[in-house]
Subunit: 323 residues, 2 copies
């Protein structure tokens, strides 16, 4: 007889991640009971990954468990929030305990790294799909919203952009990445949420967003919500060797500008903080690159090294339009 | 061109339910920002509904929107928590705006009835599936957990049991419910979460659970967590006319004892409170029926009017075993 839903919960989900003192009651009742610190606001975000849309059917379940949590922790980082709790709605076509064990291993390792505890969720039967909600804490008034940018603020990004997009293109046979495929694939399958960078830099930031739908689309949200435009110096955008090769070979900037799934942070920081930002970035060992600034007006302009506007590019991944 | 994900969010999800003062930032940023009252704990629960498993493909989207929220509010009621916020992960095969408008109408009407605000979520493409997380408040130490029952405590249930199960049986052609089908179908499609009953009775209760997997399975969780057994007087179980007819015709008690989806509450209340419980039930206009008591030992015994044990029945719905 296959394991029951209750046995699965007991075996895989009852103790997953860190055990936190602020969890009054975790998995196993009608609700979890949680204690938010009196001097903090609660930040919550929810993201779904669907087989065939967000990941390939043959994906390593361990990397999928990692990524399902990572993309959500990335939203907390983008808000400047400290991670605390997570819930998991897992829909599975059948009980495959080897798959489940792998999924939970990837999920749990990342949860433990950021002191996150799984406190609840639901396990149901159906087409493979994963919804995760993360919960974090933020000091009142200190959240990194999208609507606080001002003209002249500087725009930074962590890491390098376009690797996940190029990995997808290569996986689909649209590009031969050669021996660099493994590195690209690592970026696609095992994104590291920029929690540490957010915690170290948030006191300097005015806004932040994580780059899940592409730089232009995501920075576009900051522009729209703040009622501003932005200029990006295209040559300043940090590229891995693989993406730099791709761009120079093809002339196509869509990977670093418009491909999703990178989960780097785009940070908006008032001018004059550059030395401090760079000092913090060195301590973190996370690349942090100044790529442009916020401006009056609307829309994002990409300029070349001479300051001339380069051709527009349709930006960002949209789940329904790109169907 | 079909609507984009962002247009859908703006059109259907940006303002859904009540507008609450404790929502610092709602839909539209990386995270929602929420203020839990300083003297309350946060109660959270998450439930998923999958097409073909939890509902028929041709279900009225308005009732589906209602039910997706109702089954989650039922968990808050079972915990004795006051509803506050909700997040919604909606996976849709395609954008069907008439369907979405119906779904949101059903969801929003119920949300407004219980002063609940939608604060975030995710809209993705894929096989139809809905994950909802509810968030509520509970006084520290006053949550209705499953592990607090004591021998001699009395067991009550709200409403009547087995209607949703019989509706499913009838829908599958396994029973001719005649002119009562519409009433049964109403119970299956439009369950009313017992929030008001919970709020009125929780100060008297030691434990509660909502009956989503069947009375025996759900009361079984209270028995197991409390390290006790229970005796149920079968003839005392409240039945609608339709279910009473079914039981008397077929001799089959599985609908009221083991069928899921009723979302009534099973409440465990210390002995000696009966007069007070009945007075509150009359004020609420919610049927509340004493069906048995908690006992030392383990397992649930059903007895007939003479106190003799009736035959055992396999209890409860399990998503994987009943596949």
């Amino acid at each position: 007889m296959p394991a029951s839903e209750f046995q699965l919960i007991e075996r895989y989900f009852a103790r997953l991640g860190t055990t936190r003192a602020d969890v009054v009651l975790g998995v196993g009742d009608d609700c979890a009971l949680l204690q938010v610190p009196a001097d903090r606001q609660l930040a919550v975000s929810m993201d779904t990954l669907v087989e065939g849309i967000h990941f390939f059917p043959d994906v390593d379940p361990e990397s999928l468990g990692h990524k399902a949590l990572a993309v959500n922790l990335s939203d907390l980082a983008a808000m400047g929030a400290d991670p605390a709790w997570v819930t998991l709605a897992l829909t599975l076509p059948k009980v495959d305990e080897a798959w489940l064990a792998g999924f939970c291993r990837g999920f749990a390792r990342l949860a433990a790294r950021y002191q996150v505890q799984l406190v609840g969720g639901d396990t149901t039967r159906g087409p493979l799909s994963i919804s995760v909600q993360v919960h974090g804490f933020v000091e009142p008034g200190r959240a990194l919203r999208r609507d606080q940018a001002r003209p002249g603020d500087q725009i930074y990004v962590t890491g390098s952009l376009g690797d996940a997009g190029l990995a997808l293109l290569a996986a689909g046979g649209g590009y031969d990445a050669g021996e660099r495929l493994a590195v690209l694939q690592q970026q696609l399958d095992w994104p590291e949420p920029r929690v540490a960078a957010s915690q170290a830099l948030r006191h300097l930031c005015r806004c932040a967003i994580d780059i899940s739908d592409g730089l232009l689309a995501d920075l576009g949200h900051i522009c729209e919500k703040s009622g501003l435009g932005a200029t990006i110096r295209q040559a300043a955008i940090p590229l891995s060797e693989a993406v730099a090769d791709y761009v120079h070979t093809t002339g196509d900037w869509s990977m670093p500008l418009a491909a999703g799934d990178d989960y780097e942070l785009c940070l908006v920081i008032p001018a004059g903080q550059q030395a401090q930002v760079e000092r913090i970035a060195r301590t973190l060992a996370v690349p942090l690159t100044l790529i442009g600034q916020m401006e009056s007006g609307a829309g994002i302009h990409c300029v070349d090294a001479a300051g001339n506007k380069v051709a527009d590019l349709q930006g960002g991944y949209d789940h329904f339009r790109n169907a």
